[in-house]
Amino acid sequence: MRLTRRRLLAGAAAGAVGAGAGIYELVDHLASSPARPVAVRRPREQHLLEGVETITDDGVEVLVPPLHHRVVTAKVRPGTDLRSAQAELERRLAGLDRRFEPTPAGLGVTVAWGLPYFRHLVPAAARTHLPVDLRATRERHRPVSALLDAVRFPSDPHDTVLEDNDLAVLLRSDDAGHVDEGAKALFDGFDALGQTSVRRGFVGGGFSGRQSLPKQMAVAAGVAGAELIPDGSQLFLGFTSTQRAAMGHGRIANLETLGYARDPHGYFRGGTTMHLSHVREDLEGWYLNFDFSQRVSTAFRPDLHSVRPNAQTVAQAPRDVSSERQVERTYHRFGAIGHSAAIQTSSRLKQRHVGPDGTVYEAGAAIPLRADFNTLDNPFAWSSQPTRDGMSRSPAAGVHFLVFNPTSDDFHRNRLAMDGVLPDGTKLRFPPGSRGQGFNSVLKTTHRQNFIVPPREHRSFPLAELA
């Protein structure tokens, strides 16, 4: 009997639904935890993870991120007694602190708060205590908060959802069970918080020569183009993103370190800002339409010719950093800018800087501290607004992009540079979705929001005690 088109489609849809519903159950079967250094302290900064191993891959130092990640977003329920809720959340967080060390072997917990929380629940204290972005204030001749509403960037679709969550909790560990326990400990039976989304994902696992977790998960889920992902690839797009030189080091992403922000009462000292977005990735478009050398040009820069064929880790040390003029030259010569090269114009230190704690940050050092991870969520694992969020049960390749920057404006500058809008005002124009504009032709951002990450002592309902 001939297979009709309808029967074929019905079968494909059923397979996709099944894969989407249960795919994360595979994750612990596919990955084993690497050996990890033991943490010696719990830093003031919530966003810093201790005990992160450094290895050398292709002669480049690479940080080994935790394998399993989850972000839970939530809103504070109306009528909540903020001080009681503050005490209760802190009690729960402290319980996790006692149970797990703040390392990939244990559990990293980061609680971040969005502008809706500050505007609606602690408005007066927020007006006097939220840090001000000095650089943006100076340039725009008006006060600019260190925490900004998310915006759509030139390469974003018009329907990218700008979210309005009160808070987001990032949980990360090599042990998926720890992540589960953390989420339950924080949210189960806590009436003050109504969850709005759950986002799950994974990264790495391929440095030991095994097939990486993203590759295994994508193949298991049957997402388009999964077979084309290089076996050991840290992320779906085939390149290592956590090399040491490309990640913000130490406290560089803190609000106070580079002097970008003024914290009027020192309440947020040791804090940072966080951007969270979900981005769909077209794996077939990436691997079938770009050969390896084109992928290198697109991911890094068009005039990079010394990369070993099929290399996954490409040096991005301070000496490899591109300037605005170099990016502009490659634009005029090749009609293209590399993703990393363009972002480096705003994401690297222009000059040597000594932080308030005496730490020296050399020129060319990376400022943002990324914590992004791949996902099969489409776009989330769960949503309280499935229609608005465009929820689908079919798995899809994507990334939950999560990064810590000293201020929201600093992230916006980096993201604009990715679109060819450089820090000195130079605008390198591209048609929408142009291959020349780095990764943009294979990415589609569905959601964005900015948050502030208070220091550990104020992580629970910040400013509620002053309200």
Partner: protein
């Protein structure tokens, strides 16, 4: 950019054909004796023979193709029949249904040359067009030996083979390729299965004059 018309049901016919045509008998593990019995189908032979005679070199006739293709040069689905001055040829079969999808298979041959040809990558930004020479077939990902053919699998290809998975091999001092377009809901795996099937089905047709 993605090829035009490549939408959700593209290459559905390939999936239908694989199941419906009952062609599973000559999949992997096919006895050599049976492979040796393959003949270019009578209804297709004339076209492939004319091509071989025209370029003065052997060509490969597919004895199996995904439905609805019949492998007939000049037939209903053969939309590309091109021979260049250097005797290289491109024979393409396309099934296209508006709003539904596309199925696309290419067979190529480059007589008396084995080097991968060079294509021109054209990039126009703000009215300025830049042309760069690049290999027509890139990113070799694996090799397979089937029915006497040692083929290399290329995943990043250009021109008429853009967004295709392409198998390339050498025979008698010439380069030959077979490629198929990857499009939703046809997966990469399904395309590779189709290509494996077609590769096993190829029969060499030599020039008769």
């Amino acid at each position: 950019m993605r090829k035009i018309g490549v939408v959700s049901l593209a290459a559905l016919a390939a999936a239908v054909a694989l199941v419906a045509s009952g062609c599973g008998a000559d999949r992997a593990g096919q006895p050599a004796a049976k492979a040796a019995e393959k003949r270019c189908p009578a209804h297709a032979l004339a076209g492939w023979q004319r091509l071989a005679n025209r370029i003065h070199a052997p060509v490969y006739c597919p004895t199996w193709m995904p439905d609805p293709f019949d492998g007939v040069i000049g037939g209903q689905w053969n939309t590309i029949n091109s021979v260049s001055p250097d005797r290289s040829y491109l024979i393409g079969f396309i099934w296209l249904e508006a709003g539904s999808g596309e199925l696309h298979v290419n067979l190529r041959g480059y007589p008396a040359r084995t080097r991968i040809p060079t294509c021109v990558d054209v990039n126009t930004v703000n009215g300025i067009t830049r042309r760069t020479n690049i290999p027509c077939f890139s990113d070799p990902t694996s090799h397979l030996h089937v029915a006497g053919i040692d083929a290399t699998v290329y995943t990043a290809n250009q021109d008429a083979d853009r967004w295709h998975v392409l198998y390339a091999w050498r025979h008698g001092g010439s380069l030959y390729t077979l490629s198929q377009h990857v499009a939703v809901p046809l997966t990469y795996q399904k395309v590779v299965a189709d290509l494996d099937h077609m590769l096993r089905s190829l029969v060499l047709v030599r020039p008769s004059s």
